[in-house]
């Protein structure tokens, strides 16, 4: 057991710190469009120096970084308080999925603009009637010559209004069991048949959207991984969903907690034993999250597959982030309940943490079935 980073990992961290130090995009402007444009410009800078997707192979503009180095990248991005690149879904989800299942032509066509942020991607998986039970989705794709005609509705589509492309899963065969009739499409968002309606979330921001798809057309060559193979391709996308990002979130949580402690100190609250107890508790949870995430890295690097700890970090992070925001409200009172205050924002935004990217309930099902080997209840599936 040795928790020190190797010389090359430490050197990579130093290199990143220096780069983030000398590459400061400044304060992110307010407003959705302005902040998005800001993050897009930030991604361009990252891409210029091959930092936009360090875990991508060098041939596609990445650095072929190991999973530990990728974790270090996201930790340092968070530590430097730099924003996530605008095309985070393209970089983390679409890119790796295309690398796994794409034809040479598809790789050639799509990967580079993902990296530069020239083409933004969104994820068209969930539907109003297909959330945790994703495989029951109903959006249909019907063959018409060498094109597919798509009709249906998608929901929770983050960044759709800025996206050129959508990772879309649709049903191409209604006569086979639900997991088998799906196909994964790369759909052009810039067409009549795709209408976007912003969904305002409880914070008042429209981070995500509904997609209304009415006769949208996708050429044959934009099928990814073969007709009828959509479930397998989609699972690859989902498995990438919680990779490096966890380390960015983990560092952000740490920063929030440290800031809360500083704020408690300024108000002279640290001597209150109830406050100290709760801060000690939150510190413990934040450290457990960090250490468990590190253990997960080692397991993947050493054994090639995630261990039991790999399924736990998203659950740990979301729960702790909510507890932290709730405690900030207890501690800071009216300030944290006033719109515009950052803690008020956290109090609202963190409610989404235990839902987005897999609800805690589904994560528990996954742990129960795949890690603990418990029997599955008829009809339910993780």
């Amino acid at each position: 057991m040795d928790l020190t980073f190797s010389d090359s990992e430490a050197a990579f961290r130093d290199e990143l710190r220096a780069w983030f130090e000398s590459n400061d995009p400044g304060e992110m402007p307010s407003g959705d469009d302005a902040s998005y444009a800001f993050r897009r410009e930030w991604q361009r800078r990252l891409a210029e120096d091959r930092y936009a997707a360090v875990h991508w192979p060098e041939e596609y503009g990445g650095r072929g970084a190991s999973i530990t180095e990728s974790a270090i990248f996201f930790e340092e991005l968070g530590r430097a308080r730099r924003p996530l690149p605008a095309n985070v879904l393209g970089i983390l989800l679409a890119g790796p999925t295309i690398m796994t299942f794409g034809t040479d032509e598809q790789k050639e066509r799509y990967l580079s603009p993902i990296l530069t942020g020239d083409e933004i991607w969104c994820q068209g998986f969930s539907e109003p009637e297909a959330g945790s039970d994703l495989a029951s989705l109903k959006t249909r794709a019907v063959k018409d010559g060498d094109e597919w005609v798509i009709t249906g509705q998608k929901v929770w589509t983050s960044g759709a209004q800025y996206s050129k492309w959508c990772m879309l899963v649709a049903r191409t065969d209604f006569d086979v069991p639900k997991h088998k009739g799906l196909t994964y499409f790369l759909m052009d968002m810039e067409q009549e048949g795709v209408q976007i309606r912003p969904l305002v979330q409880i914070t008042g921001e429209p981070e995500f959207n509904e997609l209304f798809i009415e006769g949208a057309r996708v050429p044959d060559e934009n099928v990814l991984g073969g007709v009828g193979n959509g479930w397998r391709v989609a699972l690859t996308t989902l498995m990438n969903e919680r990779s490096g990002l966890a380390f960015f979130l983990q560092v952000r949580l740490r920063q929030l907690l440290d800031e809360l402690i500083e704020e408690a100190a300024e108000r002279g609250l640290l001597d209150d034993p109830v406050v100290a107890d709760k801060l000690g508790y939150l510190h413990m949870k934040a450290e457990i999250l960090r250490l468990t995430a590190y253990r997960g890295l080692t397991t993947i690097e050493k054994y090639g597959t995630p261990g039991p700890e790999g399924s736990l970090t998203k659950w740990m992070w979301s729960e702790t982030n909510q507890e932290l925001a709730q405690f900030a409200a207890d501690l800071l009172g009216a300030d944290a309940l006033t719109t515009g205050n950052r803690w008020a924002y956290e109090l609202l935004r963190s409610r989404g943490n235990t839902i987005e990217g897999g609800t805690t309930e589904i994560l528990k099902n996954i742990v129960a079935e795949r890690v603990l080997g418990l029997p599955r209840l008829k009809g339910a599936s993780a």
């Binding site: 057991m1 040795d2 928790l3 020190t4 980073f5 190797s6 990992e9 530990t68 440290d258 402690i261 500083e262 100190a265 300024e266 002279g268 640290l270 034993p273 406050v275 100290a276 107890d277 801060l279 000690g280 508790y281 510190h283 413990m284 450290e287 457990i288 250490l291 468990t292 590190y294 253990r295 890295l297 080692t298 397991t299 050493k302 039991p308 700890e309 736990l312 659950w315 740990m316 309930e361 994560l363 528990k364 099902n365 742990v367 129960a368 079935e369 890690v371 603990l372 080997g373 418990l374 029997p375 599955r376 209840l377 339910a380």
Partner: protein
């Protein structure tokens, strides 16, 4: 970074699991608990293997290995719930090894390493395991100073704790302070207790999984119901979280001693909360049978409760974490 055991460390863990699996079955644990006596044969075997001295320096006759190896053994003895003076002896040795004067070390470590004598460690006012039979007792006062009491100078009153798998006592007496930094010694001992709690949690989880896969109601294994399976998932989360903190602390104890105070409190707070919750859930998931003397889950719950209080409960350690944090982040206010 390698947040996993080395091959040698894996081997130690496996050897311990196999040996204790055959020598310290629950039948044996029950016999020791109900008869209020340890299995001398088991202790002799552990001594022959050099386990009590595994982390004691070679110059004192020990194995010279580190806190990680010691944590591995402690975890496995916790997993087996072995009825033996191991934890008491090695925690005393850790404290004396880290904070004793050269004379104190020379006086006690060779005997503890060879198994010729046993030791005990605890807090004044708390329950001290195995104090009656110990040749030397390390008693931590309310001021945090650890004092060394040869058995003859200690006032030892045996008590029946709720955990009959371990002999307990209340201890008082003057003794002499450990010569060095008490905190380091106590922190190292605390990590060994945390490791035992991780082992207890792991065992409770495994017993529960076996039971809920087998037990059927409404023609369905109860482990298929989410009310039960989600509880099991929570048990895994608590166990693995405590494991992360405890392995980190054991590693830091030798590799980055400046982080020892925080790491030790982190491990103890996480493992105490974790083991109490996990063993309580184990009883609940076993239903009525889990509440009987006949089923074995209660031994785990009882060990978890007494260990959780040993060297400070999670509340004590959370308060310490808050103090350490405040000193780092807001030194002016602290």
């Amino acid at each position: 970074m390698n947040f996993d055991f080395t091959e040698d460390q894996h081997e130690i863990k496996k050897t311990a699991r196999d040996l204790l699996g055959s020598r310290s079955s629950f039948a044996k644990v029950r016999e020791a608990a109900e008869g209020k006596a340890y299995d001398d044969g088991l202790w002799k075997e552990l001594v022959e293997l050099g386990w009590p001295g595994i982390a004691i320096a070679e110059e004192h006759g020990g194995g010279g290995l580190g806190a990680v190896e010691l944590a591995i053994l402690s975890e496995e003895l916790g997993y087996a719930l072995a009825a033996s003076p191991f934890l008491s002896t090695v925690t005393a040795a850790e404290a004396i090894g880290a904070a004793g004067t050269p004379e104190q070390q020379a006086a006690w470590l060779p005997g503890l390493a060879s198994g010729e004598i046993t030791g005990a460690l605890g807090t004044a006012g708390g329950l001290v395991g195995d104090a009656e039979a110990a040749a030397v007792i390390v008693l931590v006062g309310e001021d945090g100073v650890a004092r060394l009491l040869p058995r003859a100078e200690a006032d030892v009153t045996p008590v029946d704790s709720i955990d009959p798998t371990r002999r307990a006592a209340r201890v008082s007496g003057e003794g002499e302070p450990l010569g060095g930094e008490s905190t380091a010694g106590v922190d190292r001992a605390t990590i060994v207790v945390a490791a035992e709690l991780v082992g207890v949690s792991q065992r409770a989880l495994e017993m529960t999984l076996a039971y809920v896969k087998e037990r059927k109601q409404f023609d369905t294994p109860v482990g298929a119901y989410q009310a039960v399976s989600h509880k099991c998932a929570q048990m895994l989360k608590d166990t693995e979280g405590a494991r992360s903190a405890t392995y980190f602390a054991a590693w830091a104890a030798d590799a980055e001693p400046e982080r020892l105070p925080e790491a030790s409190s982190l491990a103890k707070a996480a493992s105490s909360d974790g083991a109490r919750d996990v063993t309580a859930s184990a009883i609940q998931a076993h239903g009525g049978i889990g509440f009987t003397w006949e089923a074995d889950v209660h031994w785990l719950y009882k060990r978890a409760q007494v260990d959780a209080a040993l060297l400070g409960g999670s509340g004590t350690h959370r308060a310490r974490l808050a103090r350490l944090l405040a000193a780092r982040l807001a030194p002016a206010a602290a």
